[in-house]
Symmetry: C2
Subunit: 220 residues, 2 copies
C-alpha cells in the first residue's frame, strides 16, 4: 500500500543529490535501463510514475522532421512521468545506465483522492516542474548562446553536489537539444569559455568551473 513517509535515497548510489525534495513513496519495484534505452514514449498510456535512483534520464519531444527539444534532465531523487491526461505527453529515455523506481499511477491516483497530503505532494512536484519550465522558456525565448551555456553549467553545478567540478552524463547533442542550439555552437561556446579562463575542460564530459561567480552573472 502506498503511504506518505519521509524517505531517504541511498546517498552512496547518488551522483547528483535529489533536487525535487519530496517524500512521495512510489513503490518498491525498480528497474534497470541501459544507455539510450526508452522508458516511455509520447502517446503511450501513462500507467506508471517513476523516480530516478541512479543514473540520469532525459524528457523530450520530437517533431515530425526529427527536430528534438529536451524538456528536462532528471537525476537521482527526481520524480518524472507524472501526467494528468491519459497518455504521456513526452518521451523519456535513460541517458546512461540507470536504476529507476516505478509506481502504478492508478495507485497514486487513488491515494491522492483519499489523502490530501499525497495530493499536495503531487501538486508540489508539478508546480516545481512548471517553475523550471518557465525559467527554461525565458532561456530559449530571450537569451543568447553564451547566456544559455553559462546558465546550463550553473544549473548543472547547482544540482550536482560537488562545488566546482561537474561530471556531465549527457552528450553535446543532448546539451544542444536542451538549449535550443546546435552541437557546433555548444562546442564553440564551451571552448571559448575555456580560452577566456571561465572553465576548464579536463577530460571527456567533465567541466571545472574556474569562475562560477562570473559564469552566474553571464547567465543573465
Amino acid at each position: 500500500m502506498l503511504a506518505v513517509v519521509p524517505e531517504t535515497v541511498d546517498a552512496a548510489a547518488v551522483a547528483f543529490p535529489p533536487c525535487d525534495l519530496q517524500s512521495l513513496c512510489l513503490a518498491h519495484a525498480s528497474k534497470h535501463f541501459g544507455a539510450e534505452e526508452e522508458i516511455y514514449g509520447e502517446g503511450e498510456p501513462a500507467e506508471w510514475v517513476f523516480r530516478v535512483l541512479s543514473g540520469s534520464v532525459r524528457i523530450f519531444t520530437v517533431l515530425d522532421d526529427g527536430r528534438r527539444q529536451i524538456h528536462a534532465f532528471h537525476f537521482p531523487g527526481d520524480v518524472f512521468g507524472l501526467e494528468n491526461g491519459a497518455d504521456y505527453s513526452q518521451s523519456a529515455e535513460a541517458i546512461c545506465d540507470s536504476q529507476v523506481e516505478i509506481g502504478r499511477r492508478t495507485v497514486l491516483d487513488a491515494a491522492s483522492t483519499q489523502d490530501c497530503q499525497t495530493a499536495r505532494e503531487l501538486w508540489l512536484l508539478t508546480a516545481e516542474a512548471l517553475r523550471r519550465a518557465r525559467e527554461h522558456l525565458v532561456m530559449l525565448g530571450r537569451k543568447t548562446a553564451r547566456e544559455r551555456v553559462a546558465g546550463f553549467l550553473v544549473e548543472m553545478q547547482r544540482r550536482s553536489g560537488q562545488p566546482n567540478i561537474i561530471d556531465l552524463p549527457m552528450s553535446r547533442i543532448d546539451i544542444a537539444d536542451y538549449l535550443g542550439l546546435t552541437i557546433e555552437t555548444v562546442s564553440r561556446t564551451l571552448n571559448e569559455f575555456q580560452r577566456t579562463g571561465l572553465i576548464d575542460l579536463p577530460r571527456y564530459r567533465h567541466v571545472r568551473l574556474c569562475n562560477s561567480r562570473l559564469l552566474d552573472a553571464m547567465a543573465a
Copy 2:
C-alpha cells in the same frame, strides 16, 4: 467559505470561453484592472489567486536589461497566480480593461489540506499549465518564425470560440515577446501570410484565417 462546486462563467461577458475547464471556486470578490495595469509583480508575496472574468491578462518575466518573455495569455475562465512558493515567480498585467475574480491563497491552501478534491483541482490546473509551457518550449527552442506565428494563430483561434475571425487583444510587441521574436519579424510574417492568401488582416488587431488547415500544418 470556499467550496468546490460546479460553476459556470457568465457566457455573455466572455469573449474567449474558458480553456482551463475547472470548477474551483475562488471567492466572490472581483476587481477591475485598466489596460497595461499591473496585477502583481515578480517577487511580491503570493497572497492571492485570480481568475479572469472578462478581458485578458499576460504573465511574463523581465530580465535586468529589459528583455521580456511572455509565458502565457489568460482569457475569461482561466485561473492564474497559483504559486507553491512564498512569492510570485512572474509578473501579471491586464492587457486591456479586465475584470478579475480574486481569492485568498491562505483560504485555498487550507481548503486543499482538508478536501482532496480541491487539492486535485489545483494539481490539474498546474499540470495543464505545465503541458502548455512544454509546448511553448518546443516552439521557442526548435521552430522557425513562420512556424511560431502559424502556431500562435492556430492557438488563438482554438481558444476564441469563433470559427475563423480572431479578435486579438494584444499588440505586436506582446505577440513578439510571447513567440521569442521581434515586432518586425511578427509583422513581416503576418503580412507574408496575407500575401500568400493564408490569412486576411481586415483591420486593427483582427485576423481572418482563410486556410486554417494549411496554417495548422505550417505550425509543425
